[in-house]
């Protein structure tokens, strides 16, 4: 539908009917202090009763408010289809900090996980940044990022600005003073979900399976612990975010079930790039990008042996997790609590 079609619709339809068709319209009217106009009339009719001075304060006239409203409806009707249809991203090498070329090319498809490893300050964030802005050999690294095998044109780059990529970082604070339920419903509404309450509930249940300690839908988001808010964010990103690419920045200290978290995201057919120092996460990825001196030094495919070692790593992780739980409960740590470590590993180290 175009603006003309909306114009015809808005000119001939009662406001109460428009509000049923486009629930967001009530926000629009409230924003320009027109929340209380007569809903049994059409918008142009109802506007005749409105003091022009009020409209003027918003830089509008009786005529322009109708057009403005139509472009509002148009903007939100297009919103949902912006990012569909990403079947792969490809990174073509640029150069490292000393100008040495990166001889690499890597393609990632939805459902695939790529981990990024390298010392702090080596350039991991810069790689994530290149992906976020769909670099076209015009960022300091000289890398190029292709969508579905082709270079996105400027229009696409700008149109998707910030919407292509969801970023999960270690900082996941909430500043809104809302309960978990209110927050999720608000997000669902902004995603144009047809049933925000149901979507919010699904997301809440999922978040609780990831969180170490459970929380209720009535908990204030600002009162969630670090682990709980990360769990909420990950569930939210997997189930609600429209972004097809997810960049994860070191969530190892997150206090959540990391394996489940990664699985959840991958299951929702997202492209996942994850910077991490955690062997449990790094080896779970399909490929591993090694960063050195600002450049991609190599790309490793996770080997079968590495995958098998995951079992051992997992055991070690469970031992540590177990110790954390004991500490949490106020227990004294004894040697008996770490038997497997003694039996299986000390001799072989």
């Amino acid at each position: 539908m175009n603006t003309d079609a909306y114009f015809t619709e808005v000119s001939t339809t009662k406001i109460c009917e428009l509000l049923k068709r486009y629930p967001l319209a009530s926000d629009y009217l409230a924003n320009i202090r027109l929340g209380k106009i007569n809903h049994d009339l059409t918008l142009p009719e109802a506007l005749l009763d409105v003091d022009e001075d009020i409209l003027e304060e918003f830089g509008l006239t009786r005529d322009s408010v109708v057009l403005h409203f139509c472009s509002f409806l148009l903007a939100f009707s297009q919103n949902t289809e912006l990012n569909g249809g990403i079947s792969s991203i490809t990174i073509l090498g640029g150069q490292d900090k000393s100008g040495k070329p990166e001889q690499i090319e890597i393609t990632v498809v939805p459902g695939e996980i790529v981990s990024i490893v390298g010392p702090t300050g080596s350039g991991k964030s810069r790689l994530l940044e290149d992906i976020e802005c769909l670099a076209q050999r015009d960022t300091p690294t000289g890398r190029q990022v292709l969508l579905n095998g082709a270079a996105p044109d400027d229009e696409r780059r700008f149109a998707t600005g910030g919407k292509l990529v969801a970023q999960l970082s270690q900082n996941m604070n909430f500043v809104m003073d809302l309960t978990v339920r209110e927050f999720l419903e608000m997000h669902a509404k902004s995603r144009m979900t047809t049933d925000p309450a149901e979507t919010a509930e699904r997301c809440f249940v999922c978040a609780n399976t990831l969180a170490g300690e459970k929380f209720t839908p009535e908990t204030k988001v600002t009162q969630l612990s670090g682990g709980q808010s990360r769990a909420l964010m990950i569930a939210d990103t997997a189930l609600m975010s429209a972004s097809p690419i997810i960049l994860i920045d070191e969530i190892e200290n997150a206090g959540i079930d990391r394996r489940e978290a990664i699985k959840l995201l991958a299951n929702h057919e997202k492209i996942i790039l994850m910077s991490t120092h955690d062997p449990l996460l790094a080896l779970r990825a399909d490929k591993r990008i090694v960063i050195k001196n600002g450049g991609i030094a190599k790309i490793l495919v996770t080997t079968e042996t590495e995958r098998q070692s995951l079992n051992h790593i997992q055991q070690m992780d469970e031992i540590l997790q177990n110790l954390r739980n004991h500490l949490r409960k106020g227990d004294t740590i004894t040697m008996e609590m770490i038997p497997k470590m003694e039996d299986n590993y000390v001799g072989t180290l």
Partner: protein, 230 residues
């Protein structure tokens, strides 16, 4: 010379966004300058000096910052031209949330931050509503969902603007803004151009220095509130 107006509430990150964006511009040194419009005091010139960016600061003092801006902007443009700048950026704080330095045909940027509360986009007036590009800062401190909800609330107020997320500390995202700056048209003067929105109406006795309270001291343009009479 290209002109870009950057506006936003105090401490939303305008200076950082401008500095990071300039760093991404592919232009010779000293060819980008900044004019800062402030009301009482400003320390931003120190940060611009540090980076060797030509800059000027003007203080509105007791004049409405909006009116101060519009009566000085053409001189700012001519200063930029004399300096041989290829890009001039003006920075102003939307002090009453109505200040809107946006001019027809001139790329206009509004900077707001994620920490300012979810309903803030609705409360900021023409500065946000008439901007071409809305830059959202401090996204690294809040969750992805909160960023999305915030962006949605912006879209509700200004459906046509491009929304960019920029990290003022690392500069992440500034790259795209630099692209927009470089693509904007050159101008020689602002004469006969129009503001996108009217300035706040002024000129009453208090504008001219009256401090006494009461009907007899009130003259000029007044607006009375209506209170319940029950």
């Amino acid at each position: 010379m290209k002109l870009i107006t950057v506006a936003g509430p105090p401490s939303s990150g305008k200076t950082s966004v401008i500095l990071k964006t300039i760093a991404h511009l592919k232009v010779p040194e000293n060819s980008v300058g900044v004019v800062k419009f402030d009301s009482l005091t400003s320390f931003d010139h120190l940060r611009y000096d540090e980076q060797g960016i030509p800059n000027q600061t003007g203080f509105a003092g007791k004049i409405c910052p909006d009116h101060f801006f519009v009566s000085n902007i053409e001189d700012a443009v001519q200063w930029g031209r004399r300096k041989g700048l290829s890009i001039l950026v003006t920075e102003s704080a939307g002090l009453c949330n109505r200040c809107s330095p946006h001019i027809n045909g001139i790329l206009s940027v509004c900077v707001i931050d994620n920490l300012s509360g979810v309903n803030t986009p609705r409360k900021i007036g023409p500065m946000l509503k008439y901007a071409d590009i809305i830059v959202v800062t401090k996204g690294d401190i809040v969750s992805q969902a909160e960023r999305e909800v915030f962006a949605f609330n912006i879209k509700e107020v200004n459906a046509n603007a491009q929304i960019l997320f920029i990290n003022g500390i690392t500069g992440q995202g500034a790259f795209l803004l630099a692209k927009y700056w470089q693509d904007t048209l050159d101008i020689d003067t602002l004469k006969d151009r129009k503001l996108r929105f009217t300035m706040p109406a002024a000129i009453c006795s208090y504008c001219t220095g009256e401090t006494m309270i009461g009907d007899t001291y009130q003259m000029g343009m007044l607006k009375r509130m209506e209170f319940d009479n029950e």
